[in-house]
């Protein structure tokens, strides 16, 4: 039986089997390639998307488990936190190669929704599962502080 989920506010009836990871449904079936494949085993964070408002590693989510859920990908993140993160990311020129960045951005939005004034420690803990091979960590941290400032203004 087809699984139906809402992706970026559009209901989608999926042809993939229920054990298929959400990541592959997004990229291969729905052609939403903003979400990246880094490891497939929850080690890198590149595949992070919002699932019912929480950042999750889409490579670890079987679609059979999320029928009826809301998924938001990097293509459609929105709201004040998303706007602040987008602005801060540009101001701080965070991105190097960019491969990890859709995951970093979605995770950072999740952090600011939970905690609008994170400390360095909060950032390091919450973002610890988002790996960047270009080592943009210092700029990611600065940009999250900047996004918090934008939110507070």
């Amino acid at each position: 039986m087809a699984t139906t989920i809402t992706v970026n506010q559009t209901e989608r009836s999926l042809i993939s089997s229920e054990e298929t990871p959400l990541l592959w449904v997004l990229r291969d079936e729905l052609k939403l390639t903003g979400t990246k494949y880094g490891c497939g085993v929850a080690q890198c964070g590149a595949c992070t998307v919002m699932l019912d408002g929480q950042p999750v590693r889409s490579c670890q989510v079987a679609i059979g488990d999320i029928a009826g859920s809301d998924v938001t990908t990097i293509e459609a993140v929105s709201g004040v936190e998303a706007d602040a993160v987008r602005q801060a990311w540009v101001e701080m020129d965070v991105v190097q190669c960019g491969f990890c960045q859709s995951g970093q951005v979605v995770q950072a939005i999740g952090l600011l929704e939970l905690n609008p004034e994170p400390t360095d420690g909060d950032i390091d803990t919450y973002m610890g599962g988002n790996v960047c091979r270009c080592a943009t960590y210092v700029r990611v941290r600065k940009a999250i502080h900047r996004a918090a400032e934008i939110l507070a203004a």
Binding site: Q54, P55, T125, Y126, G128
Partner: protein, 207 residues
């Protein structure tokens, strides 16, 4: 083979009062009644229980006051180490104060078939309560904790066996997915051992 061992242990108490009960798989199993198992048999059962409790599949998430899960076991090399990614489970034990365990450990009954992927089960992934500190602890220490109602959530041995039979996150230890060594024995054998140990009066090596 393990089944045979548990059955033989059971045979030691044959002829004594046997109390019917349900194991995790809902198969009717006859468990020994309280007071019908001798101390030596109870201690043997305890040593098998300790093998399970101290196995990485169980102990890695029984880290006591530390809210950091451990990575140890055959797939992690010789030295145990803390869970990567700065993971902290917080007082909530599910990471709610930091990064929820469910970010990676999905709630799923669909078996994990990818080696090295995040373990998952049809329950919320979490650390055991701080009182149940098993990682790196001795047989004596864990035994004393498990029979102490103050530190085992008020469970007598029957409640403990029932908890193990019905809390599916614990069942993950015996079906941890591809590439991970399961806990020793089987769930049914482990539950039988809890009954044997309990019916013998919960003896510990230090008694």
């Amino acid at each position: 083979m393990q089944n045979t061992r548990a059955l033989m242990a059971c045979a030691l108490v044959a002829g004594l009062l046997l109390a019917p009960a349900f194991a995790a798989d809902d198969e009717t199993v006859a468990y020994p009644a309280a007071g019908t198992v001798d101390g030596a048999t109870g201690l043997e059962a305890w040593s098998r229980i300790y093998e399970v409790a101290s196995h990485p599949r169980c102990a890695n998430c029984h880290t006591g006051e530390s809210d950091v899960p451990m990575w140890s076991g055959p797939s992690y090399g010789d030295e145990p180490r803390q869970h990567g990614m700065r993971i902290r489970a917080g007082e909530s034990r599910i990471g709610a104060e930091h990064l929820t365990c469910s970010t990676c450990h999905s709630y799923s009954e669909i078996p994990q078939t990818v080696p090295h992927a995040a373990p998952r089960v049809g329950a919320s992934w979490q650390l055991a309560p701080a009182e149940a500190h098993w990682f790196g602890k001795s047989s004596e220490f864990i035994c004393a904790q498990l029979r102490d109602l103050e530190r085992n959530d008020g469970r007598d041995y029957l409640a403990l066996a029932d908890h193990i039979g019905h809390d599916v996150i614990l069942h993950w230890a015996w079906s941890p997915g591809v590439g991970r060594e399961p806990a020793p024995y089987s769930l049914a054998e482990h539950i039988m051992d809890i009954h044997l140990w309990g019916a013998a009066g919960q003896p510990c090596p230090q008694d």
